[in-house]
């Protein structure tokens, strides 16, 4: 893949990846018995399973159910907690010598601040990704993203105190997605990860029960690709200079190219990697093949290349 890397490098305003295909949060174990068939060295980078201060056991099972061209899952942020992550997972990731983005979550503003603080001057962390879909105990358990002012508080606090570039991971569930994104940039966000899994339910009609132990989980996989593309497109058009990592249903090089054309600077792969551990490498190869075929120099050159049809004046005479 050496040759591949040379032509596929991307630069997200200072954050560089050898190629634009990363592992999405929560879809690549970083435990000792970790990535299995996924070849860490050939990833553009890794976003960790979302990390919380204290270890979390996560949700009861079943945690996943298959749906049309996708899956609904709720793992409940099971993670080893800050200390064990720093002691065990991080060193292992550093050995792999690839960019590491740590996804962080808190159940209160203070927890976000404490975890960001604890991480911001550690070796081997290249960026933070702020997860906002978790329950906000200070607001009766509604997700942090439910209120712009709350997003503002969290993103502002984390960005101010961390020297690391901060990516905000937003769900598509915001009518004023673009406005919220603008807000985050004013608060110091370096960029965005679009999108998080989409809240969804699957029902077992035989047993008259939700398929998951925690009824409403997150929909991921090819089914949501057009939704993710829509979110990336809208934010990228509004803020072309702000790095966006596109994520949602990407399983082929063509899928990734769709995101890069829509305005993403890099992409993340989740569900596809669960089904095909070599998906990230195949996707990077696919991007390279596409660039070659189109005679385009680098992934970054795809950004803004999407030809939008102008508004169409109605012919005057039309009654």
């Amino acid at each position: 893949m050496a040759r591949l890397r040379s032509s596929l490098g991307v630069d997200l305003n200072g954050l560089r990846f050898a190629h634009p295909v990363l592992a999405a949060a929560g879809c690549l174990a970083t435990r000792r018995d970790g990535p299995g068939l996924v070849d860490l060295h050939r990833l553009g980078g890794v976003v960790t399973r979302t990390l919380t201060l204290a270890p979390s056991k996560g949700a009861p099972t079943p945690r996943a159910a298959e749906t049309a061209s996708g899956m609904v899952s709720f793992v409940g942020l099971q993670n080893p907690g800050l200390d064990e992550f720093v002691a065990e997972d991080l060193p292992r990731l550093r050995k792999a010598q690839l960019p590491v983005i740590v996804s962080i979550a808190g159940s209160s503003l203070e927890e976000y601040i404490r975890i960001a603080n604890a991480l911001h001057d550690l070796e081997g962390i290249d960026a933070l990704e702020v997860y906002l879909s978790g329950a906000d105990v200070e607001r009766g358990g509604e997700p942090f993203y439910a209120r712009p002012d709350r997003i503002h508080e969290v993103v502002g606090a984390v960005s101010r105190l961390s020297r690391l570039p901060v990516f905000v991971k937003l769900p598509p569930l915001l009518p004023d997605l673009v406005e919220t994104a603008r807000l985050c940039v004013r608060d110091g966000a370096h960029g965005f990860t679009l999108i998080d899994a989409v809240p969804a339910l699957a029902v077992d009609v035989d047993r008259l029960r939700p398929r998951l132990a925690v009824p409403v989980g997150g929909l991921s996989g090819p089914a949501i690709k057009p939704i993710a593309l829509g979110a990336v497109y809208r934010v990228a058009r509004a803020m072309p200079d702000v790095p966006i990592m596109g994520v949602g249903g990407i399983s082929t090089g063509e899928d990734a190219v769709e995101f890069l054309l829509a305005g993403a600077w890099a992409v993340q792969v989740g569900t596809a990697m669960l089904v095909n551990p070599s998906a990230p490498v195949e996707i990077a190869r696919g991007i390279q093949a596409y660039l070659k075929a189109k005679g385009i120099a680098s992934p970054g050159d795809l950004r803004g290349r999407l030809r939008i049809q102008g508004e169409v004046p109605e012919p005057e005479v039309v009654s």
Binding site: G26, C27, L28, A29, R31, D33, G34, P35, G36, L37, V38, R49, K57, G58, P60, T61, P62, R63, A64, A65, E66, A68, S69, G70, M71, S73, V75, Q78, R207, R209, A213, G221, P222, T271, M273, L274, V275, N276, P277, S278
Partner: protein
Amino acid sequence: MKRVRAEVLNARNLGVYHSITIVAPELADRVRPGQFLSIGMPPERAFLLRRHFSIHQASRRGGWAGTLEFVFDPQGRGTAWLAEIKAHQFLDVIGPLGKAFAYPTKLNTCLLVAEGHGAAPLYFLAQELRARGKRVDMVVGAETQEHVFKPIEGKRLSQTIAIVTSDGSLGERGSVLDVMPSMLESTRAQVVYAAADRSTLRAIAELCMERQIPSQVTVEEPMACGIGLCFTCTVPLIRKDGSGYDNVRACTEGPVFNPARILWDRWLLDEPRMAPTPPEGFPVVKAWPG
């Protein structure tokens, strides 16, 4: 764990079951009973997750050397597709996956308890145990005669065997739980292995704990990846020191577990019948009999 594009050597029906034998020399040498395979689904389908099946046979010698067999009963879309697979087609296979059954070193008489397709991995285990000079007895249960997996082979592999069916169409009418006590007595089993429904597994676990018989069970928690990436397949496992429990991945730390360490009340939450009652403390679990 390897991923291979494996040719199907043989695909056939066994009563209600389907059996698929693949050519996978890279995997065949290393597989052990209790481990499983992950099969990729075809492209352009609306169902995309891999499907998982215990290994029923691994041939290391003779004409079938380097082949693996797995067995399944068609349930939904994925197994319906697999049931149509013909010889000489190719499958996307990852394996061997998961932890295998442990063999007892000192203890000698083993009772294997299987329900439905659970017999597939246990017959494999029986062979390996006998190859190690252990005595093997079996309890094989199923709904009906057609659902009893390879009864002849079961007889061949075991010193004594009790076959039970829910409708009494073969062997005694009832469940494996009805005949287990008498089999435990008659065989003086020192070790129990089981592959069955969760609720049956729980009952077996309790029976063995009462009688202080070490046991191992294999579980079928749905798995999104099967290779340790996603943490969707966890089972609540009591820590060895009794200091608490952890949700461990059935695909990586399992699917074979010591049932004494499974926190059943929590794991079986999704079983309608079971109320979630917090257990009062955890037993300190004896290590597997060395």
